[in-house]
């Protein structure tokens, strides 16, 4: 309405108030408030950083004596990062998987999804905002966790050259660890929206990441299809992203680091696409 509107044009109804509009930036701000206002978020942070530091320290101390031997020809800085990844990425992926799942399922168990969707009926926007907030949070938290694991483990294993010996591949392995943690969170979020049940989403996520590969490995099968499935499961792709020098990437169906990154991104994309389809189609 413009200032020249005649008073006679005014109806008895309260005027439309376009002052406050729904926006994606607003939806992101809302999701960030929701994430940081839960105590469990900060417990998760403490657990993740604390456990990663603790396990990295333990790994370092127990490996000191046979460190060079265990590395078996792998560059020592790269091998140190791989050991750090074993603590940071493994703990971090589980914590972020759970956190991502709860960002979705917590809304359903508490009923707050109704308030959320009544304020923002564009469901794709809700999922998008949660994805952005979780991805950024996981990126920062993952980087902090990885850095702490490295800071703990390097002085124990390689005190002389810490900070100078990191090769390009060593840096890439550290970055891969952070990337893997972000992916785990996003897969958790997608599964949470698909299943709407904390227990179900977490169980399926853990199964997908850790259990399925173990079961297939136990069969000892060298069948090509089974081996390919093991390569493209999140755990298989993670082997290359987190510890490439220990594997021969050429043997993997994924071909190498690039293929593994794409594979993990596709897993997250598929989980989120599934979550979006369910969120869009089902009644809240």
């Amino acid at each position: 309405m413009t200032a020249t509107t005649h008073p006679t044009a005014l109806s008895a109804r309260p005027p439309a108030r376009p002052r406050h509009r729904l926006s994606f930036a607003g939806a992101v701000a809302a999701e960030w408030i929701k994430l940081r206002s839960l105590r469990s978020t900060w417990w998760d942070v403490i657990i993740m950083v604390g456990l990663a530091a603790g396990i990295a320290g333990l790994t370092g101390v127990t490996t000191t004596d046979w460190f060079v031997e265990a590395a078996d020809g792998v560059n020592l800085a790269e091998f140190t990062v791989i050991l750090a990844n074993q603590s940071a990425a493994l703990i971090g992926s589980v914590v972020l998987l759970v956190m991502g799942a709860l960002m979705a399922t917590g809304e359903y168990s508490s009923g707050s999804i109704r308030a959320t969707l009544a304020a923002d009926p564009r469901r794709g926007m809700v999922l998008g905002a949660k994805t952005v907030v979780l991805a950024v949070f996981a990126l920062v938290l993952g980087a902090v966790t990885e850095a702490i694991a490295l800071v703990v483990i390097f002085p124990i294993l390689d005190p002389a050259s810490f900070g100078y010996s990191m090769t390009a591949l060593a840096w890439r392995l550290a970055a891969g660890s952070v990337f893997y943690m972000v992916i785990a969170g996003l897969i958790g979020l997608g599964l949470g929206f698909i299943l709407r049940s904390s227990a179900g989403a977490i169980a399926l996520g853990i199964g997908l990441f850790f259990v399925l590969d173990g079961i297939l490995a136990m069969t000892g099968s060298q069948n090509d299809v089974i081996l390919t499935i093991r390569d493209i499961l999140p755990g298989g792709a993670a082997n290359i992203v987190l510890a490439e020098p220990l594997f021969n990437p050429a043997d993997s169906a994924l071909g190498g680091f690039g293929g593994a990154v794409v594979c993990l991104a596709l897993w997250a994309g598929a989980a989120l696409a599934g979550g979006w389809a369910v969120l869009r189609a089902r009644d809240a």
């Binding site: 109804r13 309260p14 108030r17 809302a30 109704r114 308030a115």
Partner: protein
């Protein structure tokens, strides 16, 4: 204004809402009445797009709510007493909702004041009583200063003072020209709060009218007569148009004759009459009568408290 046209929702084999058509006008409090499980909540959820209709449409101010550029200023809805995460404070819940529309903190503080939640707002929602949860839900509904307010069973769990507060709030919002749509299964409460009534049973429209008209339409006026000569009077008054039933040893209930006619008959016949009074059907009775054949879960059947059907 809320326009409902042929709105239908089927859950599996159960038809929860069955071709509802009605309009909720701005400037009035419209009560939405029906027994538990009659489809009130489902209808309200379809208005705000939480539930997708099987057929038909709901429009708010002429457009589907989901298309609104500014949902919170269009519709404020209380759909569930505890639609907030238990581990979060009420304040964080309201601030997050406000953030979606860049509603300033000043407005958040305003609605906290309006709903009297100042003392508990920083505490986690899990510590709230049902009444505080309702107030938090109402605060959330008012955040965007919306032109339409939808409240599903807002007085559940409120103390008498709270009930009175909701009543005044609803009337005040309507007086400002807003559309106010409130559901309840309590006729008496709606009679005090609402100007208009939409009554449904088993998902179907039973009445769409004013409170007064609903009562008038289903009132069955009778005349109560208390007299030591009750038996004699019963015989004398009986006719094809008049039904006389015995209420007590000396009390009769006469339908088909007003107090004037019974009084004149008493004078003519010299009957001793202790009491002569008009019996009007109460609102509650009118409502029971309207929904009688449509009550979904009868208390005499199973212990049905757990089956809320499409309800909560």
């Amino acid at each position: 204004m809320i326009q409902i046209e042929g709105l239908t929702k089927r859950f599996g084999r159960k038809l929860a809402v069955d071709h509802l058509t009605f309009t909720v006008e701005a400037g009035h409090v419209t009560g939405f009445l029906g027994p538990n499980g009659s489809g009130k909540s489902t209808t309200m959820r379809m208005i705000v797009g939480l539930t997708r209709p099987t057929a038909g449409a709901a429009r708010v101010d002429g457009q589907p709510f989901a298309r609104s550029a500014s949902p919170l200023t269009e519709v404020g809805a209380l759909l569930d007493a505890k639609a907030a995460a238990p581990g979060r404070s009420g304040l964080a819940h309201l601030r997050a909702l406000a953030a979606t529309h860049r509603i300033p903190r000043r407005r958040v503080d305003e609605v906290i004041g309006m709903t009297g939640l100042e003392s508990v707002i920083a505490k986690r929602v899990k510590t709230y009583s049902l009444g505080m949860g309702q107030r938090l839900g109402i605060a959330a509904a008012l955040l965007g200063d919306p032109s339409t307010v939808i409240l599903d069973e807002p007085v559940n769990g409120l103390d008498p003072e709270g009930v009175k507060w909701v009543r005044q709030l609803a009337k005040g919002l309507a007086a400002e020209g807003r559309t106010v749509f409130i559901s309840s299964h309590l006729m008496a409460e709606m009679a005090l709060t609402a100007d208009r009534l939409i009554i449904i049973g088993r998902g179907r429209l039973i009445a769409d009218s004013t409170v007064d008209a609903v009562v008038a339409a289903s009132s069955e006026v009778a005349t109560r007569v208390r007299s030591p000569q009750a038996a004699q009077i019963a015989v004398a008054l009986a006719s094809p148009q008049v039904t006389v039933t015995t209420e007590g040893p000396d009390t009769l209930l006469v339908t088909g004759l007003g107090v004037e006619e019974v009084g004149q008959a008493a004078a003519r016949n010299g009957w001793v009459v202790y009491e002569l009074s008009a019996v009007t059907a109460s609102l509650e009775e009118a409502y029971m009568k309207l929904t009688d054949t449509l009550v979904e879960y009868r208390s005499s059947a199973q212990p049905a408290a757990t089956t809320e059907g499409a309800g909560k």
